[in-house]
């Protein structure tokens, strides 16, 4: 092989897919993990969509697929009639196409759609021959630890993924990494990180859910993962409800999202921030102009939601009535539930990842609140012990430039290392051992490798 081809890094998330080549500092493509197919096919995979899929006769007696099957009509090239990403959104707006999201809650639900999604990602967007490239994929979190609230990926999903990549695409080699671990690796670019350890707490907040994932030496502590049902979408809804309450001329979700992304920040103290807004309204209150495709535009006032919206992480009671634990407490609880010998490392390396952690001052506020909780606990135990002094505990929240696509960037970083290929499973190994081979991967970027 003349020059080594760069590894392909794919991070398929619930909301967005990040595609690119290892070694780059940002993904080449970021688009929604959506696929638009001709509408009548509800999707295979035996989802039990209520349609009688099985006729009186077993389908092998009727020639092709059974009657009523969505495959029976497919004799031509209909299976190639689909779009992914932004094109899918555009196509589904018109007639004839239905929009599907093959990944739900971080896990692949519809393998048919996903296989085609991958096929199109590889051939249309990345334009690579999979036989020439190694692939680095991501998966939600550890396996084997069963905990219903955690973002887990059963090993069968890995096997299915491997089947598709090795059998459909004949990819040269495959590595499946855990997103949280990659997010830790991405934080190595921050100047605050001195040692490149894979121990830390990852706060991954995307569109749907926020996860707090403790990682020790590259392995996820599955039993102490915690999830919070507050994430990007909730902030958008909250902004929207505030806009509606004020009766703004435009309170669509899209506007709310724009306002959230452009104006919101985290404040150190809500009460003080309110008074600051009242003192200097000219500087604090903003105006957002929405321009419609038909050329008209309206102006929307942006007020307290600037700091109130991200505040729902820290004071969830202002938004939700059934989930009331603030994020700093959740982080603290997560670490307290982890094995005692790694807790120090977990407190010291709290890494942010995902689009909903990008608010200004988010890290600082989180660090302050967690530190507060920790100090309180230490003070209490010092009191109880009667005179013993604690050496203190370092709490550090790490913000870095690659936060938005943290897992992807971590993948890019690890995928370009010279030893990456030796960590992958190759096609030959797959042919030799079968799909179960991907249940285990050597830890990339672990001790002694970089």
């Amino acid at each position: 092989m003349a020059p080594q081809t760069p590894a392909v890094v794919m991070d398929n998330g619930t909301g967005y897919t990040k595609l690119g080549f290892a070694g780059n500092d940002s993904p080449s493509f970021v688009f929604p993990t959506a696929i638009a197919t001709k509408s009548q096919g509800g999707g295979g995979g035996g989802s039990g969509s209520g349609r009688p899929a099985v006729a009186n006769k077993p389908s092998f007696l009727t020639g092709g697929a059974g009657p009523g099957s969505h495959l029976s009509g497919k004799r031509g090239t209909e299976d190639l009639d689909f779009f992914i990403g932004d094109e899918a959104l555009a196509a589904s707006a018109g007639p004839g196409y239905g929009l599907h999201y093959p990944i739900r809650h971080g896990q692949i639900e519809n393998w048919d759609d996903m296989e085609r999604f991958w096929s199109n990602s590889i051939f249309k967007y990345l334009r690579v021959e999979p036989e020439d490239h190694y692939f680095l994929l991501t998966e939600p979190a550890s396996q084997y630890h069963l905990n219903y609230s955690a973002p887990l990926n059963p090993p069968e999903n890995r096997e299915n993924t491997a089947e598709i990549f090795f059998e459909s695409f004949n990819c040269a080699g495959l590595y499946i990494a855990v997103q949280a671990v990659l997010a830790l690796a991405a934080s190595w670019t921050s100047s605050k990180v001195q040692d490149r350890s894979l121990t830390g707490t990852v706060i991954d907040s995307g569109e749907g859910v926020t996860h707090v994932i403790p990682v020790a030496e590259g392995y996820v502590i599955g039993s102490s993962i915690k999830s919070i049902p507050i994430a990007g979408r909730d902030i958008t809804y909250f902004v929207q409800s505030l806009l509606r309450d004020r009766g703004e001329p435009d309170s669509s979700l899209k506007t709310a999202e724009r306002i959230k992304e452009e104006y919101c920040y985290v404040c150190p103290d809500v009460v003080k921030e309110f008074s600051r807004f009242d003192m200097e309204p000219a500087e604090r209150f903003k105006q957002h102009t929405v321009t419609y495709p038909n050329g008209k535009s309206v102006t929307v006032d942006v007020g307290y939601e600037r700091f109130l919206a991200p505040e729902i992480f820290f004071n969830p009671e202002i938004y939700s009535s059934d989930f009331l634990t603030p994020l700093p407490n959740i982080v603290d609880m997560t670490i307290q539930q982890s094995p005692i010998d790694v807790r120090r490392g977990l407190y010291k390396n709290i890494v942010l990842s995902g689009g909903s952690t990008l608010y200004r001052q988010f890290g600082r506020r989180l660090q302050r609140d967690i530190k507060h909780l920790v100090d309180e606990r230490i003070a209490a135990s010092e009191r109880r012990s009667g005179g013993a002094k604690s050496g203190g505990l370092e709490v550090q929240v790490i913000e870095h430039k690659r936060q938005r696509h943290g897992p992807w960037f971590g993948g890019s970083l690890l995928g370009q290392t010279p030893e990456f290929r030796s960590y992958c499973h190759t096609k030959a190994e797959y042919d030799e051992y079968g799909p179960s081979i991907v249940r285990r991967f050597a830890l990339l970027g672990g001790p002694g490798s970089t």
Partner: protein, 318 residues
């Protein structure tokens, strides 16, 4: 998606964004394209100057077949000395762009077709040679033609991949394009055979205008004296011959034909993979159907009469 795009989508979307006035930021991306082509998109000097470099393994061969002229024709003022480690570079200065939108779109399109244009050179040369030979041959009858006119020109070989190559040969009445392909995977070979058979049969059925396609596992006669042609006959390597007739070589069709035939290999592999995906989806569907049959075949648990505490009985409905 039936056909693959010819242009690189990333370059296209990136340039389109920038030319439409997106905020200038520095870029430094190394991206791949089919057939081991590597692009490097960067902003080495200032944020408004985007440099795009291409590296491909057969560049020297392509230069031999006139790539430099084609590139100069297409990118004239944008060419800059090739970047270290790359074969060819163009640079676009965002501050001195053509003012009107059409010219800008054309620029984006041309640059995103960089790989296609580099690879087009030998085809263009062969098509030109065909024209010359055709004129030459029209002066003679088939008997009196001197040596060389009837046999056509030299075979242009482009080793665009590790073990695969394109051979192009112009004759007075056709241009022959031969792809040597290699299938490392046995399943792919089977799929490939089916596909190629379809190509061969296409002419026999509806599409009379299609170029003639032949495939075989030993080297065709055209390649007899070409160095480096392996005639293994083992089945791993196959030769696919496209015979382009004069009607495919008219100036109007030319560009399209070159684009199409260039992407043939990737198109072919894409469809092999897409059909595997299709078959997988049928297999999943079938498994789900069988599972449902099994579930239905499970006998219902016997319904026993139940009594309340007071001794009355009732039936569970349904």
């Amino acid at each position: 998606m039936l056909l693959l795009d010819y242009q690189n989508v990333l370059i296209e979307s990136l340039l389109k964004d920038r030319l439409a006035g997106a905020a200038p930021t520095s870029i430094d991306q190394v991206v791949s394209d089919f057939d081991g082509v590597t692009f490097h998109i960067s902003t080495p000097e200032s944020k408004s100057k985007i440099q795009i470099s291409i590296a491909l393994r057969c560049f020297n061969e392509l230069v031999k077949y006139g790539a430099q002229q084609v590139l100069e024709r297409e990118y004239g003022p944008f060419i800059v000395p090739p970047e270290q480690g790359y074969d060819f570079s163009v640079s676009v200065d965002l501050d001195s762009l053509p003012p009107d939108q059409d010219a800008r779109d054309d620029l984006v399109r041309r640059i995103s077709l960089l790989k296609r244009n580099v690879m087009a050179a030998p085809f263009e040369q062969a098509f030109d040679e065909f024209k010359a030979l055709q004129e030459e041959a029209s002066k003679y009858t088939s008997e009196s033609a001197p040596q060389g006119v009837m046999e056509g020109g030299e075979v242009r070989a482009i080793h665009y991949r590790e073990e695969e190559a394109i051979y192009i040969k112009a004759s007075h009445d056709r241009v022959t394009v031969i792809f040597s392909t290699r299938f490392s995977d046995e399943t792919d070979r089977v799929f490939g055979k089916v596909f190629l058979q379809e190509f061969v049969d296409a002419r026999r059925r509806a599409i009379q205008n299609a170029p003639q396609v032949l495939f075989r596992s030993d080297a065709p006669l055209e390649l007899q004296n070409v160095p480096g042609v392996v005639s293994s006959g083992s089945g791993e390597i196959g030769y696919i011959t496209f015979v382009l007739f004069p009607r495919h070589l008219t100036p109007q069709r030319r560009e399209e034909v070159i684009s199409h035939i260039q992407t043939f290999r990737d198109y072919f592999h894409y469809h092999i993979k897409a059909s595997k995906a299709y078959i997988h989806s049928r297999m999943r569907k079938r498994t789900a159907d069988f599972l449902q049959v099994l579930r239905r075949a499970r006998p219902d648990s016997e319904e026993k009469e139940r009594k309340t505490a007071s001794g009355r009985t009732f039936r569970v409905q349904g």
